[in-house]
């Protein structure tokens, strides 16, 4: 247990030790003021790390949210004589609320998001600078009162350093906990591969918004501390240039590491001080530095350190494996004659191209359903249309008696239709077990609240998720690779991890998009056994799209054939492969003259 505490809170303990030493030994006011600044920027960098390094969104408005917190706190204490503690908390809340305005953008890709947040920061600067007597305009507001925290008046440099450090430590505690449970896993999954995360029932937009709001909340708090320290607020520290400085801190420290953000925050603040004499050259140096770093060390300083460490063991806290019955977890009712999935006259057009043309199909519970068709027949479009990647142009898809046509992917995933992809989409920065654990996301409930509390329920859920993941990894035969990073896996193993991950979300229907493509003979044989086992032991309905007729005729209960977007056959496998139209589609028409 003690070892795991060190592993878990190592960063926190390290930071605590460094800060305590500094607070004890440093006496010069100049140094203390610089250190306080570094701590405040570190808070900012850590909060951006949550948005950028964890969720993968490049926000260029972080200094803007920092400013919203700063101005809120300044205005409330200066104009309205609020108490510091109240103003401080309100600053965070207001910044978080302001971030809600941008939250619908969370769905956009990172470049759009970066540009819009840049514009948002410029808007904020204009508003701060033209707020009249409320904000003091470009001249700013002097004479912001010192904090009074239940009688503790913070008015010396040392006390400010202690206050800022305390907040940083609380923040470290906060972010370490928040990123440990389900939410943290989902953050990283989204950063690594959005579509795969969505297919497992994770609501991408909502999860990203959570990360963004939490990050902005902490930025607001940091802003509040800063204005009270300088007793002055003006628009300059909140321009988009400063946002870029914060991005630099995160990038320099290394994406996805809170300790990296700590290094970056302190590093850049001291570098700024060092380059104070040549302020004109500073942005040039930083700019070139960023560009060079992106070419040679895209993973930052922390990435360089990490290279020499064994990567696999540290990211996951090992739980003891519960003795868990996989059968209870995965089993579906064996009730074969019930229709589980139905398509009515589904048509999908891309502009003028008709990819699916009036397809009717019925999948019964507990069967292995095979879909074949020559290249370009519309098989992948078919899966995409059912699982919510595409909206059908006309027609209806019904799953378990519910109309799901046009519903988003995570909704369909949560209902129990989970898929794998033609080209495996794994979360490459995570281990095999973690990948599979992401699959349990819809089954376990812990979120911000429980992750902060880390009570019995939280540990129980995490332990359960871990045990399920381990059992599934064993089921697909990868137990010796369980703690390997997915980026290093071989092709055939990647496919198996994907299947295990899909199984973790308790699928009712499992869609396999060309699972055998690129596998060797032995691997194909194993895959066949696995599929049969999933059906016979657990009663999972399996929908499989394949080219390998040999494999399909062996395992399928039912088969359908697509050609040019039309269904040309549907029935028992042996009947389907003998159908003259199917043979013609696969082997071509015999020339009419000879016929």
């Amino acid at each position: 247990m003690s070892q795991s505490v060190v592993k878990k809170y190592g960063t926190l303990i390290g930071a605590l030790a460094i800060l305590a030493l500094l607070a004890f030994f440093v006496q010069s006011n100049y140094m203390l003021s610089l250190l306080s600044q570094a701590v405040i920027y570190t808070i900012l960098a850590v909060s951006l790390q949550l948005i950028f390094g964890y969720v993968g969104q490049v926000s260029l408005a972080h200094a803007g949210f920092f400013g919203i917190g700063a101005y809120t706190s300044a205005i409330l204490t200066y104009h309205y004589d609020w108490n510091f503690v109240l103003a401080f908390l309100t600053a965070g809340v207001v910044a978080a609320l302001a971030s809600l305005i941008l939250s619908p953008m969370a769905k956009l890709n990172e470049t759009y998001f970066a540009m819009s947040t840049l514009a948002f920061n410029i808007i904020l600067t204009i508003i701060f600078a033209n707020g009249g007597s409320l904000t003091g305009g470009w001249n700013g507001l002097p004479g912001i009162p010192f904090p009074n925290i239940f009688g503790w008046v913070v008015d010396s440099k040392k006390e400010f350093f202690i206050l800022a450090s305390l907040i940083l430590l609380v923040q470290f505690f906060f972010v370490i906990r928040i990123t440990q449970g389900r939410l943290g896993r989902n953050f990283r999954a989204i950063r690594d591969n959005q579509m795969a995360a969505s297919s497992l029932g994770i609501d991408i937009g909502m999860t990203k918004i959570k990360g963004f709001i939490l990050g902005c909340f902490w930025a607001g708090l940091a802003g509040s501390v800063m204005v009270h320290m300088y007793a002055f607020v003006s628009p300059e520290p909140f321009s988009f240039h400063e946002s870029i400085t914060v991005v630099l801190m995160v990038v320099l420290g290394g994406l996805g590491s809170f300790f990296g953000a700590f290094l970056g925050g302190f590093g850049v603040t001291f570098l700024n001080e060092l380059l104070k004499e040549i302020p004109l050259y500073r942005p040039i140096i930083y700019g070139i530095f960023i560009a060079v770093m992106m070419i040679f060390w895209p993973n930052g300083l922390y990435g360089l350190v990490k290279k020499f460490k064994k990567q696999t063991m540290e990211s996951i806290i090992k739980y003891t494996k519960l003795d868990l019955n996989l059968k209870n977890y995965l089993s579906q009712p064996f009730n074969t004659n019930q229709t589980i999935l139905k398509m009515d006259h589904v048509t999908k057009q891309f502009g003028g191209v008709v990819a699916l043309n009036d397809v009717d199909l019925e999948v019964k519970q507990g069967e292995v359903f095979g879909l074949i068709g020559p290249n370009g027949a519309g098989k992948t479009t078919f899966i995409n249309t059912i699982t919510g990647v595409e909206k059908p142009t006309i027609g209806k898809v019904t799953f378990m008696d519910k109309d799901i046509s046009g519903k988003p992917m995570h909704y369909v995933g949560e209902m129990g239709m989970v898929r794998t992809f033609q080209v495996s989409k794994l979360f490459n920065s995570m281990t095999v077990v973690e990948n599979v654990m992401v699959g349990t996301s819809t089954m376990i409930k812990n979120d911000i609240g429980l992750a902060l509390l880390q009570n019995k329920q939280f540990h129980h859920e995490e332990q359960e998720a871990y045990s399920i993941a381990m059992s599934l990894v064993k089921l697909v035969g990868l137990e010796d690779k369980a703690f390997d990073l997915c980026a290093n896996l071989a092709y055939g193993h990647r496919r198996l991890v994907e299947i295990a991950r899909a199984l973790a979300s308790q699928p009712k229907v499992l869609f396999l998009d060309e699972p055998a493509a690129g596998l060797n003979l032995k691997e194909r044989e194993n895959l066949k056994d696995l599929i049969i086992r999933l059906r016979n032991d657990f009663g999972i309905t399996i929908f499989i799209v394949e080219h390998d007729l040999n494999l399909l005729t062996k395992i399928c209960d039912h088969m359908a054939v697509l050609n040019f977007g039309k269904k040309i056959a549907d029935g028992l496998p042996l009947a389907v492969v003998r159908d003259p139209e199917v043979i013609q589609a696969y082997l071509g028409r015999r020339d009419k003259k000879h016929a």
Partner: protein, 291 residues
């Protein structure tokens, strides 16, 4: 009065269009979104100023030279930064961050060379007034519109009727397919950066006489990006329409609200479009391939 606003709005709009075209061209062909594109405009504007004031050269000569130099800067940005990142397996995020590096370093470089004071172009470029009915219209705005249209038409001809231009369009359409057909992508993408940089250079020299030239004029890039997005990002015709539309909105909207908040208009539009219709007006609805 309204005619005057219309023409000056059109003039600024044409400049936005040129920059938006540069954004779209680069994005379509190489997948790079260069946040620092606005800084190439700054380079163009300042180079143009130097050419006119130091060598007392003709305005048109300064346009050509600014185009050339901004083009070279664009070319270098690709060969020195973007291409190496992509070649080493960097993702979009890394390219994006590197372009942030351009965004912060180039303005300071401009300030070191040309100083921090705004520089006014000599006002003898086009002093004349054009009379339409009873209203008088600034000759400069007219000149800007005419020159922008000429540049756009020349580029259209280039893209439609020359082999080089056609290859570039092919790359913009489908990078992988064109590579399979034997087009040397890297060579052409480098060329596109050259041309797109040239477009921004022209925009800078056209913008100079309307406002002024200074090291911090690069923020116009964000407004031009708004234009590209409104027109549908990646769509070159859309970029032209979006630019003109936003120029007009800014000109007419600016008469209604106080000058401090005038700049807000386009930024707010950018955010609104991103919130409600990120595909823009002419956005290409791309097929989302799963593979």
């Amino acid at each position: 009065m309204y005619l005057d606003i219309l023409v000056s709005g059109l003039a600024v709009g044409c400049i936005y269009s040129l920059i938006a075209m540069s954004f779209s061209l680069i994005f379509r062909s190489s997948g790079v979104l260069n946040i620092g594109t606005g800084e190439f405009v700054m380079i163009g504007g300042l180079v143009g100023y130097s050419v006119i004031s130091s060598f007392s050269a003709n305005y048109y000569v300064s346009i050509i030279l600014a185009m050339l130099i901004a083009g070279i800067v664009g070319y270098l940005a690709n060969t020195l930064i973007f291409h190496p990142i992509q070649k080493r397996g960097g993702q979009d995020v890394h390219v994006l961050i590197a372009s942030i590096g351009i965004l912060i370093s180039l303005p300071q470089l401009g300030a070191l060379i040309w100083g921090a004071e705004p520089l006014s172009y000599p006002n003898n470029i086009s002093q004349g007034q054009v009379n339409i009915g009873v209203t008088q219209i600034s000759g400069m705005s007219f000149l800007v519109i005419v020159l922008s249209i000429i540049v756009m038409v020349v580029f259209q001809i280039f893209f439609r009727y020359t082999r080089l231009g056609q290859a570039m369009r092919a790359i913009a359409d489908d990078r992988i397919m064109s590579q399979l057909l034997g087009i040397n992508n890297h060579k052409y993408i480098a060329f596109i950066f050259l041309i797109a940089g040239g477009l921004t250079g022209v925009a800078g020299v056209l913008l100079g006489p309307i406002y002024y030239a200074s090291y911090d004029m690069g923020t116009i890039g964000v407004k031009a990006f708004a234009a590209a997005v409104v027109g549908g990002f990646g769509n070159v015709t859309g970029a032209v329409i979006g630019g003109i539309l936003l120029g007009l909105i800014e000109a007419f909207g600016g008469t209604m609200i106080s000058s401090q908040f005038r700049d807000l208009i386009l930024y707010v539009i950018l955010i609104a479009v991103m919130l409600f219709r990120p595909t823009g007006i002419l956005g290409i609805k791309q097929r989302r391939d799963t593979a």
